[in-house]
Symmetry: C2
Subunit: 327 residues, 2 copies
């Protein structure tokens, strides 16, 4: 990419990451965040490795106990001697940049465990943003041999759904008495949830929330339920209740993904989205600021009404592709 051209010793960073060295992993993720010029070389070196990580997305509105659940899952997977990475993504930056930092601090109980890697990811304003950075950061963690990656996002809408779509198993967490949890499920997260969690299940209304979710799952997604019976797990993550059930559901989903062929489908779909994002970022650079194809003259003509925006866009595309007339 176009940014800083500091010299980077890619082979030794990749070797370090594959040996599980945290600093090498962290450095590679920083290159991803920066959209660094060495990324094509990094990704080429990582490509043959990996494919074994289970990427688990955790999503839900603020306040449902997402980071408590994350911490409980870390502990549970560590008890099975699995290496665990947490990738915390905040698609709403710059507005709520503080939240994830707080979560990280709360997870510091794992900070000294070499089998746990915790990292938040921002897109530092470069083209393509998080749709670009998240899958590449996952690729780094996959090649680094983590058994499980917990992909945590802040609950703020469409961009969260996009991030969650990068996971193999997506966990949607709700809490009783938060009408918005169920509302959100209605509004669109139902389709992305492979496993539902009703956290704080010791609170009033937990039974209602579980029943509502089960009902909506039955109504909402007849197609998927043939293959995979979406579970609704009750937890009180703060004291570990229900976490073994949740882990069991996650492992079962991974097993189903593999045996049904759905895993290969999902990976192909993710790869396609990733290729598109990089191709579009490349094309966008050619269109864009400073000597790009959308010149000041073209922009001025549209601003003054001398031409319209579609005609201008068509001309730009034709010049880029050397192929006039197709629209």
């Amino acid at each position: 990419m176009a940014q800083a051209r500091r010299t980077v010793d890619v082979p030794s960073l990749v070797a370090g990451a594959r040996e599980g060295r945290s600093r090498a992993v962290a450095r590679l993720i920083s290159l991803v965040e920066d959209g660094h010029a060495a990324l094509p070389e990094v990704m080429a070196a990582l490509a043959p490795h990996g494919g074994n990580t289970h990427v688990i997305g955790l999503t839900g509105s603020p306040g449902v106990g997402k980071s408590t659940t994350t911490a409980a899952l870390i502990a549970a997977f560590r008890a099975q001697d699995k290496r665990v990475a947490v990738l915390a993504v905040d698609p709403s930056s710059p507005f709520s940049g503080g939240a994830l930092l707080g979560d990280r601090i709360r997870m510091e109980q794992h900070a000294t465990d070499p089998g746990v890697f915790i990292r938040s990811v921002a897109s530092r304003g470069h083209l393509g943003g998080l749709s670009f950075a998240t899958p590449q950061a996952l690729r780094v963690l996959d090649a680094a041999g983590f058994d499980v990656v917990l992909l945590e996002t802040v609950g703020v809408g469409q961009s969260e759904v996009e991030v969650a779509a990068r996971a193999e198993t997506t966990v949607v967490i709700v809490a009783p008495g938060m009408g918005d949890g169920v509302q959100a499920a209605k509004a669109g997260i139902l389709e992305i949830g492979d496993v539902f969690v009703v956290n704080k299940a010791d609170r009033d209304g937990a039974d209602d929330t579980v029943r509502d979710l089960r009902h909506m799952i039955q109504l909402g997604n007849p197609e998927r339920s043939v293959d995979w019976r979406t579970p609704v797990v009750r937890t009180v993550a703060s004291r570990g209740d229900g976490i073994p059930d949740l882990v069991e559901s996650l492992v079962a989903h991974r097993g189903w993904l593999t045996s049904s062929g759905a895993l290969a489908d999902r990976r192909r779909r993710r790869a396609r989205a990733e290729i598109e994002a990089i191709a579009l970022a490349t094309l966008r650079r050619r269109l864009g600021d400073g000597g790009g194809l959308v010149t000041d003259a073209v922009a001025s003509a549209v601003a003054s009404g001398d031409t319209d925006v579609y005609a201008a866009a068509r001309e730009v595309v034709d010049r880029l592709t050397g192929e006039p007339g197709r629209q």
Copy 2:
């Protein structure tokens, strides 16, 4: 665009909109939301008209009184016999789709006034989303001869900043005692605010909030303050206090935009972004699903690690542009 090819009588819709008929305006905005096939024809017909609307963006966290302020501004501009449109954009759809509907209902006091047009805009999942729909909806309202367009967004992060960037004058609303308002200002909205409003200024802490904002504006944006002295206006919008001051600041900003040449700059910048968005949507369609350039075979090769994502993207771009080697 690729969607429904219902027959649309574009010339008569455009003529109707230019005569100020609400139903024609509403229909054109629906075409924009749908990414309708007739849009290039619509935009070509609209291009020569307009350029007179003052587009005012209103942004701020939930609870600061954004819709109350919007309603008060409608009343104030109507008292000056100006025609006013409200375009409410929810970039966080599908999660919080309910909020704007509630705001619209609250604004029903203006629903029977033919000089007021209120409309919420969603992007119905088509390529390009709101970065695509918002400017074109504004173009419809501009050509329809509205004197003022109030562009209202839900406060949920980066996408809101992008929508706000489509306005000529951006108003950032905060309320006393909501630390997040000031935090948000620190985090990134300081740069986009042309006018700041401390609403609910009869509450405790209003003086502190005003002082904090003034301080941050001075520190944060030395470049702009040379030309335009960003005002901080106190309002109690629910009873109309301070609204005349706010209107005066808005009109003053518009005057400054025109006399300084900044208006032409901003319009050119917006036109450029719009051309880019349409060109990218066109290119994306060619890359994408169903016979696109990112074939199943390419996606599978990346998913299996046989090739890497940059190499795949490079190949796709080369095939699209017929121009190998440039990256």
